[in-house]
């Protein structure tokens, strides 16, 4: 584990150069910086990961400043320009990527759509990470029946193809973006729970945990402050992969009419709306899908870089 200074803290306190308590704080902070530098050293060597990072950064900027970047209002219908082609196919500069069947500017809708995709990724991953880590910590720390109950439930969730389970959950909760996000978070969280449980079980009997327990640390302190920071590396990698998965699944749900509902400019929903026009106006189908692909690709490139940088021993898969 190279990312966390606290990994080494318990053993480091025993070394002679950290004799007094006043010196510990600055040493830890420079260590943290050094750990980051080491991580960045690995990460920046990976050209793909850097490209992914830049594209992802740009996407975030576009999403934040969407009202300033977009040439038109995403819901404004220009009735004289229904299905206007992109500028290089004989369209006008007013609508660079053309318009959709209702005469809305495609570029503006795509720009506003980036907000939804990134927000979906962020919220789903936060939800899945939070619940998965808590369940994994409880299962790995307490073992026994707690472990059995939690992990069997996770097995059941994993037994269903993820998209299908998400679809059924949305059928129960009702179609909509929020419900789609809840469903995807439920489907993705077993991965976090399993990963956390495995790391907790590996760490639990290490010396620093035993010493913390001897020092009188309670179960919650041990779980959250002592064990968890040392399980972070695989969780960060999994979070990145889940981020792109969440975007893909939300777009798929939108495409099947079970995610965000029209007129929300969510990319998957836009594709579903445009499907019947694929033969007449291919641009209404091409661009939303391209946006999904670029976003997911950028995040996956970053994820590969993160994985190699955080733990070079982890296998590529």
């Amino acid at each position: 584990m190279v990312d966390s200074a606290s990994t080494e803290a318990p053993t480091e306190t025993a070394t002679p150069d950290v004799a007094t308590s006043t010196e510990i704080a600055p040493i830890i902070s420079t260590r943290r910086f050094a750990a980051f530098r080491e991580f960045w050293g690995y990460f920046s060597k990976n050209l793909g990961a850097l490209i992914g990072l830049v594209v992802f950064g740009l996407l975030i900027l576009i999403a934040i400043f969407a009202p300033f970047v977009a040439p038109h209002d995403p819901d404004n219908q220009f009735r004289d320009f229904l299905l206007a082609p992109p500028v290089w196919q004989g369209g006008t500069w007013q609508f660079i990527l053309g318009t959709d069947p209702l005469g809305r500017d495609l570029l503006s809708r795509l720009i506003f759509g980036s907000r939804f995709s990134l927000l979906i990724g962020l919220i789903v991953v936060t939800g899945a990470l939070f619940s998965g880590v808590i369940l994994g910590l409880l299962a790995g720390y307490f073992r026994g029946w707690v472990d059995v109950v939690i992990m069997r439930i996770m097995d059941v969730i994993l037994a269903f193809p993820s998209l299908l389970l998400a679809l059924v959950l949305v059928a129960i909760l009702g179609p909509g973006l929020v419900n789609a996000m809840i469903a995807i978070a439920i489907v993705l969280q077993p991965h976090f729970a399993r990963l956390t449980r495995a790391s907790v079980m590996a760490e639990k009997n290490r010396e620093y945990i035993v010493s913390a327990r001897l020092a009188g640390a309670g179960a919650f302190r041990l779980m959250l402050l002592t064990i968890l920071p040392n399980c972070l590396a695989p969780l960060i990698v999994q979070a990145t992969l889940s981020f792109s998965n969440a975007i893909l699944e939300a777009a798929a749900l939108g495409f099947l009419g079970m995610g965000a509902q029209p007129p929300t400019p969510e990319w998957g929903t836009m594709l579903a709306d445009a499907r019947q026009y694929i033969l007449r106006a291919s641009w209404v189908v091409t661009f939303p899908g391209l946006c999904i692909l670029i976003t997911v690709l950028a995040i996956n490139l970053m994820g590969d870089g993160l994985r190699d940088a955080l733990d070079p021993k982890l296998k590529r898969s």
Binding site: V168, A251, L256, G268, R275, G289, N300
Partner: protein, 335 residues
Amino acid sequence: MLRFILNRLALVIPTFIGISILSFGFIRLLPGDPVDVLSGEHTMSVQRHDELLHQFGLDRPIWQQYADYLWRALNGDLGISLSNHHPVMQQFLQLFPATIELSVCAMIIAIVLGVTLGMLAAARRDTWIDQLTMGGALVGYSMPIFWWGLLLIIVFAAGLHWFPVQGRMDLAIYFKPVTGFMLIDSLLSGQKGAFQSAVQHLVLPSIVLSTIPLAVIARQTRSAMLEVLNEDYVRTARAKGLREARVTAIHAFRNALIPVVTTIGLQVGTLLAGAVLTETIFSWPGIGKWMIDAIGHRDYTVVQGGLLLIAIVVMVVNLVVDVLYALINPRIRVQ
């Protein structure tokens, strides 16, 4: 080996019970009264409501309802579709071959191309071949397949007219299905052009469905090969003066196969999820489209039954993969 299989079977039971509880609970979790949901009637008198409540057994204790559901499910009775009143099980069995045919074709493409490309990338590590293959694999892995399907339709079906847009067989050709597998049935029918039509209808959906498994298998094969190529026995094989092709294809590949087989097994769930999207795009009459249509029509007995059956399929395939895995890798058996 028998002990390993029995152990693995014992692990399946709690998962199966969990799956059945989830599928049983599905109708009861839906918003609204389960009687309304199951009967499809919305305005009914109190008397009719009580009558149906009793008819569906919903007035009995919940554990009794569950036991009853489980017993009937184990006997192959999953209720009647609310929209077309056919037994759910019968519909599933009718549609499942279409999904199997599509999935098997997709898996063959994914395994053959994925393993070949992965080995090629590993053998030519850090050359342009490696970078191109792995770049392609990452794009495939990130692909929204519903969009990919639409793109292929735009180019190859609508533009070049090489392949049909949807369905499993040309409308002008008709024969009575025997096995449910169009490739076999079309050959059995002896009709001219039937087999060719079946193949043509399969090409685009199979490519779409194979995309993600292909990418995953290629990446996994490459990394497994790279790991093995550094092993001592590979160096020994080279030192013996064997040709590089023989070292890669026989000494290294056989050992790299183990993680690849696991990956292939894990792709079955992905494949079934992908089938939902692929079948929707190409109007392929399989269980994925059946489930989507059922959700759309609020045909909840079909959703409930389909959910249970699909989960069982995934579970059984995972079990088979685990056993196969133990067969190729004796170390697993001993543990």
